[in-house]
Amino acid sequence: MTTTALTGHFDATKVPEAKKPNAGFDWGRLIRYGLLLLFLVIVLIPVYVLLVTSFKGVGDADPSRAWLPPQEWTLENWKVALLGSKSGEYGKIFPVLPALGRTLAMVVPAAIISSFLGSMNGFVLARWRFPYANVVFTLILFGMFIPYQAVMVPLYKIMIQMQSNWGLPSGIPTLALLHIIYGIPITTLIFRNYYQSVPQELMEASRVDGAGMIRTYVSVVLPISIPSFVVVLIWQFTSAWNDFLFASFFGGNAETQAPVTVTLNAIAHGSMMTNYGVSMAAALLASVPTLVVYIFLGKYFVGGLMSGSVKG
């Protein structure tokens, strides 16, 4: 039952909500909005602290004054966080801007490639099956659940060898490769579930036409995969963007090579003095790209989840 529970309701967004015959003032609605707003405020509390602190001067940015608005608004923290600082009042601070660029260069190919791998795997496992396809699926899926620390030491050895023997560049390219590899299980899972929910007849038809597997995949499957691609891309984008564990091992130099989480960590928990205002500005800057993705693709994210990717 579970696999078919959500099947075939792509138009769910258009399902009309039943209008309640309701005369007079709608108290339920008021309470509902009240609650929604209350939760919104709670969710935004940390964001408020991040924001106001990022505009505070050095003495002002202190935990004891967390809730107060800045005594004097300043953009200096943002400037220093973006462009870095060599010396002087702020000491040495790594710039976030180039780190954002590097992270983008890592995340975009990683998300796209692992999505395509997942899509191919999902298609094969759901619709062009071979003996023991289920076993293979289970073996792949299990990869999603390993605690990465458990494999870090041997993994590091393998990556170092790939770097020295095959010329794999360290830093961003190495990380992109890792995010592709460890993204395979979840992308496969999501696509397989999605394709399983696609009416079989669609693909059977092309099979009858004598179309080969690749042709079926390219001309029939890919075009209907958009909703799942959105979900998978967003998921991969976010998890690769926010990853710290791999980044801290394989990121290389925090100033010139590493993705933004490492740079941020160096700013926020550097071994010497921490500037809170700059840290918070940097934390916000590091979150901007994912935020943009959520704002512009959020609607499709939910839509994509709906179209069959969330089943157990």
């Binding site: 000491g91 040495k92 076993v135 170092i160 990121g251 925090a254 100033e255 071994s271 003095m273």
Partner: protein, 433 residues
């Protein structure tokens, strides 16, 4: 049906493992492939931010002057020593070592020595003439079976008491000196602060590592230098009454500290002094970098002194470098070691970092070092030198980590007699091996 499935799974797994093994069989025998591509030195440090990073740039400049044909490659990583050491170890294990790496001088280097990952650099001590310019105490501490494995670049002092003059004034305490002859005397002063200004934290402290730092200064004060040193060679009993007494004092001191200690690093804790929120802070001598950045003046705004009961003792920690076994570029590593131990290198680095040179042949006043640095250098020459536990001079990485675990468990618990007993027991176990 089910059985065949399981068989298939096992078979597939075995096949994959076989594949994996083939892929991995190529050994990293050709490490050092970079050595042909021009001379360079890859330096692995965790000096990635703040004044340390600036100091590193100073050393780079000296390297450029002295060895213009050697390219500096910064192998530095994420801030924080913890993950840095981890990463370094993994690189060493993978047979891809940097040419030289940072390590706390003393016991912390022991692991690398035992693992035969660092080379004996006694020859360099002779070549660079370091034997005569480093204090004998320091060289003794670095020497093992007649061999020296690391070269210190800078020296810090851990046992320093910092005091906020305005707060002392308000509590009616003397404002000309913060020297206390014993922990008990210090506790009397803390009581006065508590009584006179109940809003002020008498003694500020940061998270776990700062608490271990505090503990070691208490151990030095209560045991004295010889017995403290004895803790690390077995001649003083960790489980004995002396240590128990010191731990009780430590527990007492913790009762004067800020409740939010565990949510801060050393810096906010020291910052409490200049905000008038705390009277005293015991921390290493990287504190002036913070105070001076806020334009505070020693003697006018704050006082410093050897931590209570440790006058005449210099609880040292030092960063040092070595030549890595299997370093891709040996000449580069030696150039680096030359630079960090040279006069120019030590002056450039330490002036910015706020530490003092390990060399004793530098006139700090003439080179424009701060008043604090000058006084610290004087003490370094004349005091009895002991090693820091928290900062790796007297404890191996594992011992330090175990001490941190034990202290955190104690200070977040009830801090009662049972907790003390556990603390002592765990410390004894940590240093037993």
């Amino acid at each position: 049906m089910r059985r065949t499935r399981i068989l298939a799974a096992v078979g597939a797994g075995a096949l994959l493992l076989g594949l994996a093994a083939c892929g991995d069989s190529k050994d990293s025998s050709d490490s050092g492939k970079d050595s042909t591509g021009g001379k360079q030195v890859e330096v692995f440090t965790w000096w990635t931010s703040g004044s340390e990073a600036l100091g590193l740039e100073e050393i780079e400049k000296v390297l450029k002057d002295k060895y213009p044909d050697i390219k500096f490659v910064n192998g530095g990583v994420t801030g924080g020593g913890g993950s840095a050491k981890d990463l370094l170890q993994t690189r060493l294990a993978a047979g891809e070592p940097p040419d030289t790496f940072q390590v706390h001088a003393g016991k912390e280097a022991q692991d690398y020595i035992d693992a035969k990952q660092v080379e004996d650099v006694s020859d360099l001590y002779d070549r660079f003439g370091l034997t005569d310019v480093f204090p004998q105490d320091l060289i003794d501490m670095l020497t093992q079976d007649g061999k020296i494995y690391t070269i210190p670049s800078n020296v810090h002092r851990a046992n320093v008491l910092w005091a906020a003059i305005p707060v002392l004034e308000a509590a009616g305490l003397p404002t000309d000196s913060a020297q206390f002859a014993s922990i008990d005397e210090f506790i009397a002063a803390l009581d006065k602060i508590k009584a006179a200004t109940p809003d002020v934290t008498p003694l500020s402290v940061g998270g776990t590592w700062c608490q271990v730092h505090l503990l070691e200064t208490v151990l030095i004060a209560e045991l004295g230098a010889p017995a403290y040193n004895g803790l690390f060679d077995g001649s003083t009993d960790w489980a004995g009454a002396e240590v128990k007494g010191a731990l009780e004092k430590f527990g007492k001191l913790m009762s004067y500290t800020n409740a939010d200690r565990d949510s801060m690093d050393w810096e906010p804790a020291s910052q409490m002094l200049l905000d008038g929120k705390a009277a005293f802070n015991i921390m290493g001598d990287w504190v002036p970098a913070l105070l001076d950045s806020k334009n505070l003046v020693a003697g006018k705004d704050y006082l410093y002194a050897a931590s209570p009961g440790t006058e005449g003792i210099y609880d040292f920690l030092a960063d040092s470098f070595s030549r890595t076994v299997g370093a891709p570029d040996k000449a580069g590593a030696e150039a680096w070691l030359d630079v960090i131990s040279s006069k120019e290198g030590q002056i450039g680095f330490n002036k910015v970092k706020g530490s003092i040179p390990a060399r004793t042949d530098i006139d700090l006043a003439a080179e424009g070092f701060s008043e604090y640095q000058q006084s610290a250098a004087e003490s370094f020459k004349s005091d009895t030198i002991v090693g820091s536990i928290q900062h790796g001079a007297a404890a191996t990485i594992k011992q330090g980590a175990d001490a941190n675990n034990a202290v955190s468990k104690f200070t977040t618990g009830a801090m009662d007699a049972a907790g003390l007993a556990t603390l002592q027991q765990e410390l004894a176990a940590a240093f037993a091996g």
